[in-house]
């Protein structure tokens, strides 16, 4: 009788499976990214294309759009697995569910958060954000988007079993996103004006580590409840 895989191997396996699934469902994963671009485009249309104004509010717009795009993409973390019974099988795994959840959330971030690193700077340019802030923009996205995936996963796990889960998901998750929004937008603003950003970045890092350590457990507990 052979033994089960090591935890690392199982983690990598599940991560790769999810990346493979995302690859085969490319269209579904492109939508949130397009939504991101679309939302940002709406602001100049609504407010007028005055460069000074746009440059001033660019950090906020980009991050609010990132939040909304993240909300849209969250459903894909567990929806498909829930519907076809794969989620049950993952919960019945011999491996600790929290670690497997972390694998799935990591895959989600790689597919939805990471692409923002390429698209956001372009949009920032279009909004006239000073290039001195570009580096900070990328840094906040790099640190902030995993937090969005981690916290969002808890919300999805709580609502995946509900018929109209998507509606209440926003109510659950957006208030929890507020700290990330505040510090990320503030960091970029500061960078644009030439001020220090270390305080904001450290706060974001603190949030990230807190989320990585706590969110998988909460998500696993919520999944068990949703599946029962």
């Amino acid at each position: 009788m052979s033994h089960r895989l090591s935890l690392n191997q199982a983690f990598v396996f599940l991560l790769r499976r999810d990346l493979l699934l995302a690859l085969r469902n490319r269209a579904e994963y492109a939508m949130p990214l397009l939504f991101f671009v679309l939302v940002i485009t709406l602001f100049p249309l609504a407010l007028g294309a005055e460069p000074v104004l746009l440059a001033r509010i660019a950090p906020g717009i980009i991050w609010v759009a990132a939040l909304l795009a993240a909300m849209l993409s969250l459903d894909s973390i567990f929806r498909s697995d829930f519907d076809d019974g794969s989620l049950e099988q993952i919960l019945l795994s011999a491996h600790p569910v929290a670690v497997l959840v972390l694998a799935k959330v990591s895959a989600h971030w790689l597919v939805t958060g990471l692409p923002l690193l390429i698209v956001a700077p372009l949009l920032a340019e279009m909004l006239g954000m000073p290039s001195s802030a570009q580096g900070t923009l990328l840094l906040t996205i790099l640190i902030g988007t995993p937090i969005l995936s981690l916290i969002g996963a808890i919300g999805v796990a709580l609502t995946v079993g509900l018929r109209k889960g998507g509606i209440i998901l926003s109510l659950l998750v957006l208030p929890l996103y507020v700290p990330v929004l505040i510090f990320a937008a503030s960091a970029i603003e500061n960078a644009a004006m030439g001020f220090e950003v270390s305080a904001q970045i450290y706060m974001l890092l603190a949030f990230l580590f807190l989320s990585i350590s706590l969110s998988p457990w909460a998500t696993a507990a919520a999944l068990r409840m949703s599946v029962s």
């Binding site: 009788m1 052979s2 033994h3 089960r4 895989l5 191997q9 199982a10 396996f13 599940l14 499976r17 493979l20 699934l21 085969r24 469902n25 498909s80 519907d83 076809d84 019974g85 794969s86 049950e88 099988q89 993952i90 919960l91 019945l92 795994s93 011999a94 491996h95 600790p96 068990r224 599946v227 029962s228």
Partner: protein
């Protein structure tokens, strides 16, 4: 309770939507035994099976595996259990082999090669085919193939024969017999009358108390 009892429930109860489905449920299962759960629709068969897998918490009582409550065993218990429920638990965008590889990664791999496993369930030709293009019966056979791809003592099966034709049913029936002969355990529900001559089959009827 004899020394060889593997699975035992004590005073198990289940409430769903404020209704008590069953209570004070006691049974034991030894190696080589099969338990068939019967009863009308909605009497709690699926809930009972899900409680036995650990997917659902019982509202009262406990389940013991080798004398230890399963919530304490956690991963060690799940290692021993293979579950096929109403859903097939397979990804439509992946091939049959990819799905079975995942099943193995989640549990304890059996010693058979995956090609042999597919051969046994008559899906050898579809190893690299995306599951989405298979028929319902083929998907079900793949779901059940998980039982062969992993090495688990306790098979918990909820209506395993859904969508299967008569030949497939007979094929799986003989696989079940083999599993029992190798000292495995099976708990299942089925609308189809499954007869395994020469095997030790307990029957549990739910819904008698209402």
């Amino acid at each position: 309770m004899s020394q060889s009892t593997l699975l035992q429930t004590r005073e198990l109860s289940c409430i769903r939507n404020d209704r008590m489905l069953f209570e004070h449920l006691d049974f034991t299962l030894e190696p080589g035994q099969m338990l068939v759960v019967e009863g009308p629709n909605g009497c709690g068969k699926t809930s009972l099976l899900r409680i036995l897998t650990g997917l659902r918490l019982a509202d009262g009582g406990e389940i013991l595996w080798r004398g230890v409550p399963i919530d304490r065993l956690a991963g060690d218990y799940y290692e021993q259990v293979a579950y096929v429920g109403h859903h097939d638990g397979v990804k439509h965008e992946l091939s049959c082999l990819e799905n079975l590889r995942l099943a193995r990664a989640m549990g304890v791999p059996s010693t058979q090669s995956l090609d042999d496993v597919l051969e046994q369930v008559n899906l050898y030709a579809y190893g690299e085919t995306e599951v989405g293009s298979l028929s319902a019966g083929q998907k079900r056979r793949l779901a059940l193939a998980r039982l062969l791809a992993t090495d688990s003592m306790l098979w918990i099966l909820d209506e395993p024969f859904t969508s299967l034709d008569r030949d497939s049913m007979a094929m799986f029936a003989s696989l079940f017999e083999q599993h029992l002969e190798q000292q495995g355990l099976i708990i299942m529900t089925s609308h189809h009358d499954i007869s395994l001559p020469g095997q030790s089959v307990q029957r549990l009827h739910l819904g008698a108390q209402a």
